[in-house]
């Protein structure tokens, strides 16, 4: 599986995603500039955390207009894995590949800490190596992570098992229904505020994120059939 990590102006977790895939998982991964127009030859694409365009206007709002985004959307439509963490999640909602939006944290403050999560759906291509309802802990680091969608959308997300991760103890940002990560209906696009790429090495004190990448990498080139 060949994976693209998109670099937007202001991305800053691009290296973390790249290294998690390259150094730790020994995957075939390449940085791709936001100026490129094609993702031909890639089997999966990842949108890193950071502050694309300084988070000016709204987090992720400007990145959505970059050259690369139509190619990302195309991959999503083809059923190929699309993953966004933190700013990547914000971009995926702004571009409409995932429902809802990410608001400013209720505290109005940036928050960086490790929080307990529940794996709500372990049947996705991103989570199949976790147990159902498993309790894990992953770092969060964001100011705009409060997940919002209208009631109808939230009900639909739950019914379709699109809620993949939930904050398990405290809710660090005010997300509705404690949502930390969701997929699209088809299950091939995952967006989440926590940073699994920060939790893949024992030396850094946490390996709970490793199985997310391992799950995806053992999917091979399989697409989700419609």
């Amino acid at each position: 599986m060949k994976i693209a990590v998109i670099v937007f102006p202001g991305s800053n977790c691009d290296i973390d995603l790249y290294e998690a895939l390259h150094s730790v998982c020994h995957a075939d991964v390449e940085y791709v500039s936001h100026k490129e127009k094609s993702l031909d030859g890639f089997d999966a694409v990842m949108l890193p955390g950071g502050f694309s365009y300084g988070d000016y206007l709204r987090a992720g709002a400007i990145a959505r207009f970059t050259n690369i985004m139509p190619a990302v959307t195309k991959m999503a439509k083809e059923g190929k894995p699309v993953f966004g963490t933190c700013n990547g999640f914000q971009i995926l909602t702004e571009v409409g590949l995932l429902p809802g939006a990410l608001k400013r944290n209720n505290s109005q403050k940036f928050v960086c800490k490790t929080v307990p999560l529940e794996v709500v759906n372990n049947q996705t291509m991103f989570t199949k190596q976790y147990k159902e309802h498993e309790r894990i802990a992953l770092p969060i680091a964001h100011a705009d992570g409060s997940y919002f969608a209208d009631e109808e959308t939230l009900d639909r997300l739950e019914k379709n098992h699109q809620v993949v991760f939930r904050y398990a103890e405290e809710n660090p940002n005010g997300s509705l229904r404690n949502i930390a990560g969701i997929t699209n209906e088809r299950g091939n696009v995952l967006g989440m505020m926590p940073h699994p790429e920060r939790a893949v090495e024992a030396i850094l004190g946490n390996t709970d994120g490793l199985r997310l990448f391992k799950s995806l990498l053992t999917t091979g080139n399989a697409k989700v059939e419609e």
Partner: protein, 82 residues
């Protein structure tokens, strides 16, 4: 040339913690008569042309960029036309 001010706020139904915090601060100043505070942002935009053409431009940029309709809404006001 037309100068337009576009106001963007959360929709009524969306919790606005910043507004709540500011309302609390106002109450500590003794102004209990203040019942609600909603925080938003505005954009001053200068557009070539006047009238309907400008309105169309404003609506398009609001729809495409300035507003996230999942949680936000907007209105605008023509400040100056020349």
């Amino acid at each position: 040339m037309t100068k337009v001010r576009i106001f963007v706020t959360y929709k009524q139904s969306v919790f606005d913690p910043q507004g709540e915090t500011i309302k609390d601060a106002i109450h500590t100043l003794g102004h209990d008569e203040v019942k609600d505070v909603q925080v938003g942002k505005f954009f001053d935009v200068t557009v070539e042309g006047t009238g309907k053409v400008v309105e169309k431009t404003i609506e398009e940029i609001a729809d495409q960029l300035l507003v996230n309709f999942n949680m936000e809404t907007y209105k605008y006001q023509v400040m100056e036309e020349e």
